[in-house]
Symmetry: C2
Subunit: 328 residues, 2 copies
Amino acid sequence: MPLGEFGLIGRYFQRAALEQAGGHTKVALGIGDDAALLTPTPGCQWVISTDSLVQGVHFPEHYSPQDLGYRALAVAVSDLAAMAATPVGFTLALTLPAVDEHWLQAFSTGLAACATDHHISLIGGDTTRGPLNIGVSVFGEAPQGQALRRAGARPGDLLCVGGPLGDGAAGLAVVLEQGLPDNLAAPAREYLAARFWRPRAQCELGVALAGIASAGLDVSDGLLQDAGHLAGASGVALHIHGADLPCSAALRAWPAAQQREWMLRGGDDYVLLFTLPPEHAALVAQWAGQGWPVRVIGEAAAGSGVWLDGQATSGAGGYQHFKESKHG
Amino acid sequence: MPLGEFGLIGRYFQRAALEQAGGHTKVALGIGDDAALLTPTPGCQWVISTDSLVQGVHFPEHYSPQDLGYRALAVAVSDLAAMAATPVGFTLALTLPAVDEHWLQAFSTGLAACATDHHISLIGGDTTRGPLNIGVSVFGEAPQGQALRRAGARPGDLLCVGGPLGDGAAGLAVVLEQGLPDNLAAPAREYLAARFWRPRAQCELGVALAGIASAGLDVSDGLLQDAGHLAGASGVALHIHGADLPCSAALRAWPAAQQREWMLRGGDDYVLLFTLPPEHAALVAQWAGQGWPVRVIGEAAAGSGVWLDGQATSGAGGYQHFKESKHG
């Protein structure tokens, strides 16, 4: 259903669509008809994912609508990055308790900023009156047979992560102002809040992994839990070296035990976790030169489960988003 | 995000996915990874639409979860029919106040029945705890350049409708047991309730219209309002002959004025409304032979707006779904 039908509300979202309209010749028809039309690139498959955000589960009661607009799209686009797909378009299903022009203006501004950062166009959606609920479906393309799946890791592959871990959970602590260390400087605070509200999906890295990495996903539920998904789908064991986990300077303001807990079980990091066949090991240094802080944190081996410094871990007990009320 | 992550809930929906899995070789990867993969048919475009259903807006407080599962998907698939697209897959973003196994069993059964009826596969989604909200995104294919759009009608084209009008609104009256005529027989009651809860999207007719009809959409907001959308997008006037509107036997139990009001302004009919170049007029009789009760109800002319028996009408005042609280 076209956003354009809803006069007032459509106006706010046309902008996000228009800002990117020139970028995507694949969008043959966007907002304003019964459905959108996308023209595939020959030799590519479509990659599709859907997420919904609910207040009190995925974001706190107190929030900036502009940040929320950014985050709602970014977490969905991260699933495209996790599949090595190039983003193309997204739809928005927005349920709102009332028409609040200030809220819509701010939300659509954050959404447009995220769309611009990730080169993705709004192609349709609908708006309904009801308790706040934000549904985002994202569409991207990957060369036939090269999308990055959870299955495919083999014994001997290197286990790699695309960026620092634990910042999502620390960012949430900053947003909620819960248990912050006295030595947390203002720039670190801002960095972490932005890591929570404005995560940048690792799309460029994802595309570089197509046909190279053997398996991958994005870290949304916490390293151990997501590594468990990858190990299970691939039928391998994953061995993690605790000393090699990448930790941001900002996270170091917390005690070491808290750092480690968040790096292992924190969620909402939206960095890629993937396995790399050993013949591609040299790429890690190359990626660092391109500004992608990929780190080798372990390796795949025959067996099953996730192992930390030689100890078996339980895949369960991962982060449950904002509150522990997500179905698990 | 994969439904499979949510153990309990995923179990109910795997079935809907599986029942159709054999039917769609275009679904290269369904539920269970970060995203789904669809392989395009060469020479086709993807057609994409998103809808969300909210209790009290799109369906009454009292409902059968099985009917709701059917209806949630059918109304979304109707947007594919309106674009002359062949259904392929859908995602489900389900927000539920609690895990209720009885509800999930019934809802997924209705959803699976609708998926089977419309030859469409569940390819992914997510579930979240919160006030009930059902988001459905549907994906279909149409040959390049042949999707049916709202723009394209030309003066002289015939205005056609794919089936009876007013049944959706009468069906809602039956469901709510509001103002029912004494002479409404049980079979008519059942027929109308099914027209509300289990509408059948006109996909086969839609596909037959690709490259034939000049413009089209589905009647969801009421004939006059949807005709206004088509007239506006095409830049033509649409003249409707009141005496030619198709009325079901069941609807005739109401007084003539009520029949007419619902045929013109009732919503939720989910029949196709389209314009047919006069050289294709003979197809109408042919479609009747195939069981598609297409009726010519008027014609397009130079000018603008929607005209009923020579009188200008206002496109506004259409049906606002269950309650008049949808953003308009």
